[in-house]
């Protein structure tokens, strides 16, 4: 028994020693050797099965032109991306270049290079001004607009014709047309309303902004406002009057769009890559692409831009990073990348090259009326998950007012 007591003592000492160790924190990260043989760590999400190959081609081309720089590529799924980057930053091992969504939090923590320090003047001047504006925190650009997308209404022409419904331009017309399609029966839904956690913030933007609301600006996130309430209440009306698929509150966007592709949904908001998806999965589908209906029929689309950003780390790789971005954004490298993934370019030279691409035309047209998430407000990083977790409750018994108030409360709590 005495032995066990002593053993216990040793365990206690070990425990104390290890907790003492953790108390030191993770300050001591090992910096990589600088110099000619610079190594760039690249962390990117996977947009499609082709993403990894596309990046490998870019890197091969870059390394050939810059033999003294090595590029390490790490591709993660969107689901994992944000926890991977958080873990790596916490471990003092941030990537040099990162492709992600929100970046204001990183900028606020002073982890990022301002874009002007890591691009040549020509590259910087080539970005569309609206996109640059959307990438600024406190007047400084921290994100390089990488790829853009806008939304449009995909309409199943066959179903609408069968139901005798018109392609809608306003909310009231949408409600009427969707109800007509729903009445066809046989599991057909008029409007595909994905409020599930996957991308609830997008459908929220489509409706709340389409009714004249906003999510706020760089200074304040405002969700619980009378303008936003109008859109939220119309969503409830669509659901309650049977114009949508069942269980709108828990339907994720991608699986629901699969149902649209199968021809069981009359109308749903889609993205540029949706065109390619229909082409490969169900080319027989009779469909057309139209502007998103709004409350009063005024043109609007939800624009999303993903950004590249460069972490400062030890601050010794500026030249290599600049060389990489200049290579990456040259039209010959950039445009094929964007085109292969089915998105829209953020540079002026890129738009010029794609101007006569038919599939992208309806989306490029709406781009001037695009509104963006207030992603330069650091609080947006709390608002985005709040929408994902809570907005779908509109499909349940909660009132629209309560749902918006709950989202606002979670945002305010950080």
């Amino acid at each position: 028994m005495a032995q066990y007591k002593r053993l216990g003592g040793i365990m206690a000492i070990t425990l104390a020693a290890t907790t003492g160790l953790t108390a030191c924190g993770f300050g001591g990260s090992s910096g990589e050797e600088s110099g000619d043989g610079a190594t760039l760590d690249l962390l990117v999400p996977s947009y499609s099965d082709a993403t990894q190959g596309l990046w490998e081609d870019v890197i091969a081309g870059f390394e050939e032109a810059n033999p003294d720089v090595n590029v390490n590529l790490q591709v993660e799924s969107w689901d994992n991306l944000e926890s991977v980057i958080a873990t790596r930053i916490q471990g003092g091992d941030a990537p040099d270049i990162y492709n992600g969504g929100p970046f204001a939090g990183f900028a606020e923590d002073e982890l990022l290079y301002p874009v002007e320090e890591i691009t040549s003047e020509e590259t910087y001047a080539d970005f569309q001004p609206t996109f640059l504006e959307n990438a600024q925190v406190g007047g400084t650009t921290y994100g390089l607009p990488w790829i853009a997308s806008s939304r449009a209404l995909f309409v199943n022409d066959a179903l609408l014709e069968e139901a005798g419904a018109e392609v809608p331009a306003t909310w009231d017309e949408l409600l009427e047309s969707a109800k007509k399609v729903s009445e066809l029966g046989g599991g057909v839904a008029g409007y595909g309303m994905p409020l599930g956690s996957e991308e609830a913030q997008a459908e929220a933007g489509v409706w709340l902004w389409g009714g004249g609301g906003t999510f706020g600006d760089a200074d304040a996130i405002t969700i619980d406002t009378p303008e936003n309430l109008e859109g939220a209440e119309f969503i409830k009306k669509m659901i309650d009057e049977g114009a949508t698929q069942a269980d709108a509150g828990a339907s994720d966007r991608s699986p629901l769009f699969d149902i649209f592709v199968q021809g069981k949904i009359g109308m749903q908001v889609g993205l540029p890559p949706s065109v390619g998806q229909i082409e490969s999965d169900n080319p027989e589908l009779e469909y057309s692409v139209h502007p998103i209906p709004t409350k009063d029929g005024s043109p609007f689309t939800l624009g999303v831009a993903d950004h590249l950003m460069a972490f400062q780390n030890d601050g010794d790789k500026q030249e290599a990073i600049t060389a990489f971005f200049d290579h990456l954004y040259s039209a010959d490298v950039y445009v094929p990348w964007v085109q292969a993934e089915g998105f829209l370019p953020t540079t002026m030279s890129g738009s010029e090259q794609l101007a006569d691409d038919e599939a992208l035309a309806p989306f490029l047209e709406t781009l001037p009326d695009a509104q963006f998430y207030p992603s330069t407000n650091p609080d947006w990083q709390a608002a985005d998950p709040a929408f994902k977790a809570l907005f779908g409750q509109l499909g349940g018994d909660k009132s629209a007012k309560d749902v918006l108030a709950e989202i606002q409360a979670q945002v305010d709590a950080g």
């Binding site: 002593r6 160790l21 953790t22 926890s83 269980d247 809570l390 499909g395």
Partner: protein
């Protein structure tokens, strides 16, 4: 002390291993739970117990805790009853027993996420086979089926079904091993005294299974309490917090809201809940004591 020094070469590696893979992460978790950690992962200083106050003050905390209890008690209870019956069956000799015994292992051998995904797809409206079946036999009126995984209560119930399914093999085999250690003479003696099958089982066999059952229950409680994947898959698309247990809530703090500090605080709470449950259980049932 001398004995201990002598023993050190033998226990040293084990102690070092425990310290690095168990105690160190636990220490980090406790440490993180008292810090203010930014969304990008930077440590912004200590905040004492504020994270715990936030977590417990969250309006859905108590319902989530209650649901966790339902989840653990329900899954472990049903698993235990099912396993007792299955083990009794597998203990009898019948043609093909070897094949049935092997079949029982299958849910154990396959990935939990895979098993859950199979059921989840089966429950999908429009194309899931479980939904199609229910529509075809006329139990569901709407032609696309019912959104089982879109409603908190049904999704949670189906998650419990899957949890029972994957917990059965281990529990069954533990009890089966217990059954095989029951001496034949005791059963024979009961028979001679005129006890029927039911009476023999409850008065003679079951008391002798006490050791096996209590170990199986203890391990199941810990496993089921800490189970994330089944609930994550089954209830993942449901908005709000009406189908969450402590584990899925930790996951939501970590993955959705990226609040490492709050997730750590809730993990610490979960850690203590498990310790208390296990301590009470060990005290009351004394699973390691001989009969």
């Amino acid at each position: 002390m001398k004995d201990l020094l002598k023993a050190l070469p033998w226990i040293g590696p084990a102690v070092a291993l425990i310290a690095t893979v168990v105690l160190f992460p636990v220490g980090v978790m406790f440490w993180n739970s008292t810090r203010d950690i930014s969304q990008s992962g930077l440590d912004d200083g200590g905040v004492g117990l504020a994270n715990f106050a936030t977590v417990v003050g969250f309006q859905y905390f108590w319902p989530i805790l209650g649901r966790t209890v339902v989840w653990v008690v329900g899954v472990v209870g049903v698993t235990l009853l099912g396993s007792l019956a299955l083990a009794a069956l597998l203990d009898k000799s019948f043609p093909g027993r070897r094949l049935v015994r092997m079949a029982v292992i299958v849910p154990w051998a396959s990935s939990v996420v895979m098993t859950t995904m199979v059921v989840h797809y089966g429950l999908e409206p429009y194309f899931g086979i479980i939904n199609s079946f229910l529509v075809d036999v006329g139990l569901i009126a709407s032609p696309e089926g019912y959104g089982w995984t879109r409603h908190p209560v049904t999704a949670f119930a189906w998650a419990m079904v899957v949890a029972v399914f994957v917990s059965l093999p281990f529990t069954t085999y533990t009890i089966l091993a217990g059954l095989q250690s029951v001496p034949g003479e005791t059963v024979e003696a009961a028979r001679i005294d005129g006890a029927g099958g039911v009476r023999t089982y409850f008065s003679v066999v079951l008391p002798q299974l006490r050791g096996a059952v209590s170990v199986a229950v203890l391990i199941n409680i810990i496993n089921v309490f800490n189970s994330l994947p089944i609930l994550r898959v089954m209830t993942g698309s449901i908005p709000g917090y009406d189908a969450d247990t402590i584990m899925t809530m930790i996951f939501k703090y970590l993955q959705n809201q990226r609040q490492i500090d709050l997730a750590s605080a809730l993990s610490v709470i979960a850690f203590f809940v498990v310790i208390v449950i296990v301590a009470v259980y060990v005290r009351v049932v004394r699973p390691l004591k001989e009969v």
